[in-house]
């Protein structure tokens, strides 16, 4: 059940994408996300689909596994598409009571839905192929210049990596507590909204307690190893760009160029 939530987790296989420098993947994801907002026609999605498909293929993460991550945001997706379909003004093609569907609404619903799916699949691909440690390293290096402005770059990236690292741990813990309470006859599924909310108490209280306990243990373990923040801290494996990474940057530029050309000049 709860194991099925795959979003934000690392998927351990060996692939070209997995071996890329995390900075490439971070920048690539950022560019990809921005690129999705640069066009207004469906042809743009075709280009993005080709790019995304190629990356998925190269990453060797099973497509079914990636798509399962969408389950977590299905409600959001549902609302986005729903609001767009019903609330966009324009040429009415169907009407019942106060609800009306317009041609423009259908189009923008589909457009937004696809964009959301592309956003989620693309960004989750980054976490599937990058370990939390790598991600932090990459982020810290990329944000490095902001240190001059007294931004706590190291702290922020450390916090992010801990948060990411704890997602699977807390999920597992939730699963365990859920099972333990089910064994005591707890029922998390049936009943109305209030009963359901109440039934979460036996789950949430132990979960909070355990999250605090783990945070405490982690802080202790870090202090025991003399962790004092980022000041003067060196890396055992400093990040270094290789040939592969430059090629990847090239590919990203190529994608952006193709997207620009196709959506602006070929099929508007």
């Amino acid at each position: 059940m709860i194991r099925d939530i795959t979003i934000g987790q690392y998927y351990p296989v060996d692939s070209v994408i997995h071996r890329l420098d995390p900075r490439v993947k971070l920048m690539g994801t950022l560019i990809y996300i921005i690129s999705l907002f640069l066009f207004k026609s469906f042809t743009g999605y075709l280009v993005a689909l080709v790019f995304l498909g190629a990356v998925i293929k190269l990453s060797r993460v099973p497509l079914g596994y990636i798509l399962r991550g969408l389950k977590a945001v299905i409600v959001l997706l549902f609302f986005t598409i729903g609001f767009n379909i019903f609330l966009t003004p324009g040429q009415v093609i169907w009407q019942a009571w106060v609800f009306k569907i317009t041609r423009e609404g259908l189009r923008s619903g589909a457009f937004m839905g696809i964009r959301l799916i592309f956003l989620i699949v693309g960004s989750s691909l980054m976490t599937f192929t990058t370990t939390p440690n790598h991600l932090t390293d990459g982020l810290e290096r990329l944000l490095g210049p902001f240190k001059r402005l007294h931004m706590p770059v190291h702290e922020v990236s450390m916090m992010m990596s801990i948060a990411l690292r704890f997602i699977p741990i807390l999920l597992e813990e939730t699963d365990k507590i859920m099972k333990a309470q089910s064994a005591r006859g707890a029922d998390f599924e049936s009943g109305g909204l209030i009963k359901k909310a109440k039934s979460l108490v036996p789950l949430l209280v132990p979960l909070f307690v355990s999250a605090f306990r783990r945070a405490n243990d982690l802080a202790m373990a870090m202090e025991a190893r003399c962790y004092r923040g980022g000041e003067g801290r060196t890396k055992m494996k400093p990040l270094k760009y290789g040939r592969r990474d430059y090629i990847a940057y090239g590919m990203i530029a190529l994608y952006l160029g193709a997207l620009f050309l196709i959506t602006r000049y070929l099929w508007k």
Partner: protein
Amino acid sequence: MSIILDKVNYEYSKGTAYEKKALRNINLEIRDGEFIGLIGHTGSGKSTLIQHLNGLLRATSGAIYYNGQDIYDEDYKMKDLRSKVGLVFQYPEHQLFETTVLRDVKFGPSNQGLPALEVDLRAYEALKQVGIGEDMLDLSPFELSGGQKRRVAIAGVLAMKPEVLILDEPTAGLDPKGRDEILDQIAKLHQENKITVILVSHSMEDVAKYVSRLIVMNRGEAVFDGSPKKVFRHYKELERIGLAAPQVTYVMNELAERGVMVSTDATTVEEAGAEILQWAKKCGII
């Protein structure tokens, strides 16, 4: 009356990189009133197996019968099964959530839909059985010591009056005194209430002293099943799969090899002591 497992298989996360066969073709019969030790090292499938017994996990293939009824039947009530087969998880103290000890123990029986008086009675009785005094009933469970928390959590399952009690490593992380107390209380429950007990452990010493039947798991398979004496005869094979027989088994085997005429079947220190004394008397040493 029994639990029967027929060719049970279980696979985790099928179709992903995490895919793992956790149980392979398990055939078992657990009869009423048995005291069973389930042994295997980490990842051998013992925790997975016990979660099948009260329906928390559903077998990928195979069938499980509780008192003759198929628990995967569509109209079988899982909730009833869960109150008949009580499962105490590893580190059960992590599941405590109520404001007082008493209220936490009452959670299970009140989920069973019993009248309030019956719920109270059962909670008091269960707490007494695990040796939690009346002065602690109104404390917050988070104020108790580790061993006390664990006993409260066990009482939470006992208060449901299960016919079968399964405990997953109930002594993990306890000191020797706490360990002995809990195991003695479980043995007492087994004797007095005539309930079936399944004790999951990786400590042979703990288990040998109490159980009448041992099931050894390795890589998802039940490799040995029999009385402790019978299982420990295979101590060399047990070592090969990362387990060991109780230390006295080694002592007795070593003695026998060196020509001391003792039976190698002893599994507890007491038995071994008696056996050696008997031999010494026979030879006229004492």
